[in-house]
Subunit: 338 residues, 2 copies
DNA sequence: TTTTTGATAGAATACGTATTCTGAGCGAGA
DNA sequence: TCTCGCTCAGAATACGTATTCTATCAAAAA
């Protein structure tokens, strides 16, 4: 453990510890000769500041906290989170911050993690992902004035800084794309009713239909969950209709893949018999047959904005705006091709 | 910021700060009456220790560091890493540790991250993933006696603690499975020559052939990279042979999917015309058509062992053994079914 | 020459906790 | 009665850095 402290550097340079600190911090009020002496010693023996002492003294840890409340199992297989974590690491790193990641499985542990990261001052700020509307942490964080930023949406107050995908726009993008391809009878397979992301994409779907002057057909809209099985079931039901849709907007890639399987099983060609588009542009979209069109969510942008806003808050710069909406991007593949 | 310090708790309880500390640490040498007084005050006003001060004082941060050297982009789309990170978070959390994740993109930044995590004493120990044989960090870490554990393999010295998949066993598992299905002419599509994981799986393949008394056919073995394109190219080449293989072991799921695509394009039915098996049991295995058999890597076990060994090292308990080999598991799906 | 100003650097202190040191009080043994 | 030993709690200190406070010295102003 040959790690030197400022005190030892000082002794070797025949100056005081305070002077060493000043040299390191670039304080101009130090004589050039002494500065050189100190720098020479540091160069020779090496010096790395003790982050623990620095953070105790300066009240800054140089670490951001990321809390997701998902089970590690979900976390492990959700490409969204891995991409998000990776991107946040990247952008935080560029600004000289580290990232501390914690996962809150149960609601019970959520509180514990919150205590442990925040009140112990282990991190300078927090990024919360997909908060719930009934999130008891938000008011407390606001009250304490602790820097944090949300990825997702939170309705009860607009006092929080947040970044979210333009899910309405995404739904519209997918639907308009299908309309451009000539489709007139377009179904929507949604996820759980009441979830922002599903409702928003549904709104986008409705708007696109409306603007194109197409009729809305309630029998073409189904709600459920985010599973492949749900997509499979609903696609089958849609294909059983007297007048089945010629295209399907599925709220999630997995759901879309379920629909794809149903179509293939019944001998319905994709996209000729039925076009299918999903959301999120999950990595496996390009490996299914036919490759799946999808509306990509700009995870990196999401991460970049969240990180920058949080660091601005931490460093007492007033961020430009509270709510950020990140547009999505259409990725055309064979499943909606001509 | 209504966070109280021990000093303030002490004042409110009319005792000394030392006594508060003793009560909190469960020191038995404190009178029951005082203890109760202090606990009552804490209960009323709340108290959470300052992690920064604790770590400065106790030389322990309660944080593990995880360093992966991959670009954030690769990181984002590699399910292995997200699963690994998730699992480490989980197990570290169970032991009361946090996780600080950093990614070293360039070789240049690797050094910087190493400095920043380790010498600044920001973490108590380090988990290194997929070290290279020429890894300049290893000797230094060993020399400094800094606690660390490897996920992967390192040859130059056996002084390091490491956890690795049984890749030889995995290669054997896949090959034996195909042999059991009656295949006699089995190809191997590998990744980059010289990479441990590829060489080991190849060894397993060779051993399984040998033990089954099957001839080794060099023309059935191809090396390249981990891409889908490589699998596609090599599968085509194999199918062009005068006597094509009836089964393929692909070193990675992506490579296997490339092979799958080649087979489908040429009208070769899978598995009847050619069986295919991959490695890693990537989430999308179950969504391709036909679903892809794969040898699953026990990421959670890997993470669990690595975390436990590291924490043992940190807390001065001698771990049982230096090298841990985690067995893999066969996941049968339609691509190798009868 | 005396006072003031400015530049510089060392001494001292604070951050909050854990632990060692010290001393007070008391019962037991001589 | 006096000392020894023991229990317990407060005082003091250390962890390593950043910063404020203070002292020194020289040069400039009076």
């Amino acid at each position: 453990m040959p790690e030197l402290t400022q005190e030892q550097i000082a002794k070797l340079s025949r100056v005081s510890q305070a002077t060493v600190s000043r040299v390191l911090r670039g304080d101009p009020r130090v004589n050039e000769e002494l500065r050189q002496r100190v720098l020479a010693v540091i160069k020779k023996h090496g010096y790395v500041p003790d982050a623990r002492a620095q953070s105790l003294r300066s009240q800054r840890t140089g670490t951001l906290g990321l809390v997701v409340h998902r089970s590690p199992k979900q976390l492990a297989r959700d490409p969204f989170f891995s991409a998000l974590i990776a991107a946040i690491i990247e952008f935080a790193g560029e600004e000289g911050y580290h990232l501390c990641v914690d996962a809150a499985r149960a609601l019970q542990s959520r509180r514990a993690i919150y205590e442990d990261l925040l009140r112990t001052r282990r991190v300078d700020g927090l990024i919360l992902v997909e908060p719930q509307t009934q999130d008891e942490r938000m008011p407390r964080l606001l009250e304490e004035g602790f820097p944090f930023v949300l990825i997702g949406r939170y309705e009860p107050t607009d006092a929080v800084y947040s970044v979210d995908n333009d899910n309405v726009g995404a739904g519209r993008l997918a639907t308009e794309h299908l309309i451009r391809q000539g489709h007139r009878r377009i179904a929507y397979i949604g996820g759980p009713r009441g979830l922002f992301v599903c409702e928003d994409r549904y709104q986008g779907y409705r708007k696109a239909l409306e603007e194109a002057g197409l009729d809305y057909a309630p029998e073409l809209v189904g709600w459920g969950d985010f599973s492949e099985a749900h997509g499979y079931r609903w696609a089958n039901r849609l294909l059983d209709l007297p007048q089945p849709p010629t295209a399907v907007v599925a709220v999630d890639d997995l759901v879309a893949i379920g629909a794809l399987r149903a179509a293939k099983e019944r001998g319905v060609a994709v996209p000729q018999g039925m076009a299918i588009i999903g959301f999120n542009d999950t990595p496996f979209c390009q490996y299914v047959d036919p490759p799946l069109s999808s509306v990509a969510v700009e995870i990196r942008t999401l991460a970049q904005i969240a990180t920058r806003v949080l660091i601005d808050l931490i460093e007492d710069r007033q961020p430009a705006q509270r709510r950020h909406i990140v547009p999505c991007r259409l990725v055309e593949r064979a499943s909606t091709g001509r």
